[in-house]
């Protein structure tokens, strides 16, 4: 999957950098350390901008190219920041058969951005996921950690509105 580099300026804090250095220190002698470090780094920063990848590369003494190669391979690693509320629509088989594509369309038209995008005020972003394993509740969408099952297209606006003023 192609991933676009972000246009958002990097605004990492010293605390975040300190936390990342600790993670690198804890994992650096472990075989196959890169994946756990990237996962922790994404937890700290919310995404993996080039600046963070460079810190990891120098910390683990591998090339930035290798880090970038791994980051772009896995769909959960993001080069773009996510919105404060990330709306994720499941397009796994069970959800698809139950019409989740219509849910995605409804979310996109409600927020006015395509899947993979982020609203200008960085409040909302949309992405698509492959099966959350909640197939019994298909179609499923999530907003951050809140899971909505058996969603209907006409309920989408209501769900998103409930996050608008938070």
């Amino acid at each position: 999957m192609a991933k676009a580099k972000t246009t958002v300026k990097f605004q990492g804090t010293l605390e975040q950098e300190q936390a990342l250095r600790e993670v690198i220190e804890a994992h650096k002698d472990q075989p196959g350390a890169l994946m756990p470090v990237l996962q922790a780094a994404q937890g700290i920063y919310g995404y993996l901008p080039v600046e963070v990848q460079e810190m990891i590369a120098s910390g683990l003494q591998i090339s930035v190219a290798e880090v970038y190669g791994v980051v772009t391979f896995y769909s959960q690693f993001s080069l773009n920041p996510k919105g404060r509320y990330n709306v994720s629509v499941c397009l796994g088989t069970a959800c698809y058969v139950k019409g989740s594509e219509k849910i995605l369309e409804a979310v996109e038209s409600k927020l006015g951005i395509p899947s993979g995008g982020c609203t200008e005020d960085t409040k909302f972003s949309i992405d698509v996921t492959r099966c959350l394993g909640a197939c019994g509740l298909a179609p499923v969408m999530t907003v951050n950690d809140d899971v909505y099952g058996k969603v209907e297209p006409k309920k989408v606006a209501e769900i998103i509105d409930s996050y608008m003023n938070r």
Partner: protein, 631 residues
């Protein structure tokens, strides 16, 4: 920990757990000894948690506290299987089954059922568990559960997965003890071979043989035992449920394998999309280490074994064994050619065995009950049971475990309760993006590994998605191809470019732009991708196309020759039509049409201009008189 200490825990907790295994009178007798008059089990799996089971648990605990009901035990379990009806709550010793609970319902159940001398609240029970004459069936007697045979899911929905003592009460780690003290490693492998257990992850390779290939030079070289918990097939969630509901069975089985092949280190590679499973595994590993059931010198023997957890990051191909190992090594998860097989050269270049979660879940019971017990279940070449994740257009969605050789009809109609809304069954899709569709005329084939391949599908990990007359099979094939195009790792050309071209042909077909020549090209491409791809992802990628084209050729032809989608799914081929007899001229459709394709005067029948119409269906959804149809 010694075996005496393990047995002590087992005895202390045994009765408490057995209450949940027995029903009615026997359970009631036992319950009297446990100090708990009632036990309330609430599902804490992903499905029910999404439906709000956390609130149910806190509401129940608060209500019990308020009423001073100290002899009622609340247990947070793993998945019961009927995910669509969550949050689910079971009350023992009766085994009564409450579904779709709300915090208000909890108060009612406390008031009427859980109090001393209370009776079940019939109107809140799972409807299939109340007979017409008012008899209440225990969970195990309902149609959904009655036909099932639970081996891999034995403890799911029975024990509290975050409490190791509950697992121990139901014999966890006894099989490991038996291996370490009564059996040689070769005997363990022989039992696995004799049992006939085949890998539950997809290809169905005999587990015992896999172990045998990795067993030479024990103690001389570093070896690894891996658990594939990267359950990526959309629609399959049995591995997640086992990890959430009974994590210790996986740890125990991996330790047994470690003993059998001579390895002291295991890795579990689990999807990051399964946060609850990850959390339970972390708890389980910590508890097992604390009890000395993982770590140095287990049960005082010279066998040591530990397990580390590694998280995936959303790459479907990492479910392929060589890609999974490359990913654990911290690299791009690309597969590599075999041979050398992982048994010779696997993780970090060392001999490695890899089995999936459901396979592991069978192993301790095979050791305890013997190979003959396991081999007595199933068909000639597929032994034991298989867990299926029922989904799609079916009444009872959820997890079911049946003996190999059960027919699809029994699963769909009897256990699954059939297709909802009186629609006709069209096909069942098994094996995810690697599998194929089974049409209605094969409903009576006994399901096992070989029969499924013979009818053009495969077992895969056990996802079973039911489709009805409203699903377009070309669209379904396109959906799966879109998935493989996205998930192809890009290493080999046949898969990277081939699947993309195949997807484009399907797009042409669903857009009504394809010719008969394109169908020939499609077949040719399927064959080439299959034969030239490096790993199973590419080799099986054309399966959804091949099987739907075989079983539903007329649908493909309708798209190509008549430019029609018989199921009314493919937008470009749809035509909306207003029945002038039924149209009242309310203008609602015209006002809502985003492209102003509808014209007509007030109180006169309206007309759709199909040259302008984009087929969005807004008019259909808005019409109050049922005057609009798609054709």
């Amino acid at each position: 920990m010694t075996i005496e200490q393990l047995n002590k825990i087992r005895e202390e907790k045994r009765e408490l757990l057995m209450v949940r295994k027995l029903v009615k009178e026997e359970g009631e007798k036992l319950a009297a000894n446990t100090g708990y008059r009632k036990q309330v089990l609430i599902c804490g799996g992903t499905g029910c948690t999404s439906s709000g089971s956390r609130e149910i648990i806190s509401a129940l605990e608060a209500e019990l506290e308020k009423k001073g009901l100290k002899d009622v035990l609340v247990v947070k379990t793993g998945c019961f299987g009927l995910c669509a009806l969550g949050p689910i709550m079971i009350v023992y010793p009766e085994g009564t089954f409450y579904s779709q609970m709300t915090p208000e319902h909890v108060v009612t159940v406390c008031d009427q059922h859980l109090i001393e001398g209370g009776e079940p609240v019939k109107e809140l029970l799972y409807t299939d568990s109340v007979l017409e004459d008012g008899t209440i069936l225990p969970l195990s007697e309902t149609p959904f559960y009655k036909k099932q045979k639970r081996v891999a899911l034995r403890n799911c929905g029975v024990i509290a997965p975050e409490i190791i003592d509950e697992a121990i009460a139901l014999d966890a780690y006894q099989a490991l003890y038996k291996c370490l003290t009564e059996m040689t490693p070769d005997e363990v492998i022989q039992v696995m071979i004799d049992s006939g257990l085949r890998g539950r992850g997809g290809a169905g390779f005999p587990t015992g043989l896999k172990w045998k290939f990795a067993c030479s030079r024990r103690g001389e070289v570093q070896k690894f035992v891996c658990c594939n918990a990267d359950e990526g097939d959309p629609g399959a969630f049995m591995d997640r449920s086992i990890l959430e509901g009974d994590p210790h069975v996986v740890l125990e089985a991996m330790a047994i394998a470690g003993y059998a092949i001579g390895s002291n280190q295991g890795y579990i590679y689990v999807r990051a999309e399964y946060p609850i499973a990850v959390q339970r595994l972390n708890i389980a590993i910590a508890q097992a280490r604390e009890y000395g059931l993982l770590g140095e010198n287990i049960f005082g023997t010279d066998f040591s074994f530990d397990i580390e957890l590694r998280l995936g990051s959303g790459a479907f191909v990492c479910g392929e064994e060589t890609a999974l190992m490359t990913s654990i090594e911290g690299k791009r998860g690309e597969p590599r050619p075999r041979p050398p097989f992982p048994a010779v050269k696997g993780l970090f270049g060392q001999p490695t065995i890899l089995n999936n979660v459901e396979t592991w879940a069978n192993i301790p019971q095979i050791i305890t009950n013997g190979a003959e017990w396991f081999a007595s279940m199933g068909t000639e070449k597929s032994k034991g049971t298989k867990v299926f994740a029922l989904g799609g257009k079916i009444n009872n969605t959820g997890l079911v475990e049946v003996e190999m050789g059960t027919t699809l009809r029994e699963i769909v109609e009897e256990i699954g309760g059939g297709v909802p809304n009186g629609k006709a069954f069209k096909a069942a899709q098994t094996g995810g993006p690697s599998g194929g569709c089974i049409a209605a005329d094969n409903l009576d084939v006994p399901i096992d590994y070989d029969n499924l391949i013979a009818i053009g599908s495969m077992m895969g990990s056990g996802g079973l998605i039911v489709m009805d007359e409203d699903n377009c099979m070309v669209d379904i094939a396109k959906f799966f191809l879109n998935f493989t195009v996205d998930e192809s790792c890009g290493k080999c050309t046949a898969c990277r470019i081939g699947t993309k071209r195949l997807f484009e042909i399907l797009e042409k077909i669903t857009a009504g732009e394809a010719t008969m020549e394109d169908l020939d090209k499609m077949e040719y491409l399927c064959d080439k991708i299959k034969k030239n791809s490096l790993c199973a992802l590419g080799q099986t990628a054309p399966n959804p196309v091949v099987s739907t084209y075989k079983c539903f050729r007329d649908e493909y032809l309708a798209h190509v020759q008549d430019k029609k989608c018989p199921s009314g799914i493919c937008k470009a081929l749809l035509e909306f039509w207003i029945d002038p007899e039924k149209c009242k001229g309310c203008t609602l459709c015209a006002r809502n049409c985003p492209v102003s394709a509808i014209s007509g005067n007030v109180k006169e029948p309206h007309v759709i201009d199909n040259n302008v119409c984009i087929g969005c269906g807004t008019c259909l959804a808005n019409c109050k008189f049922g005057a609009i149809t798609k054709r």
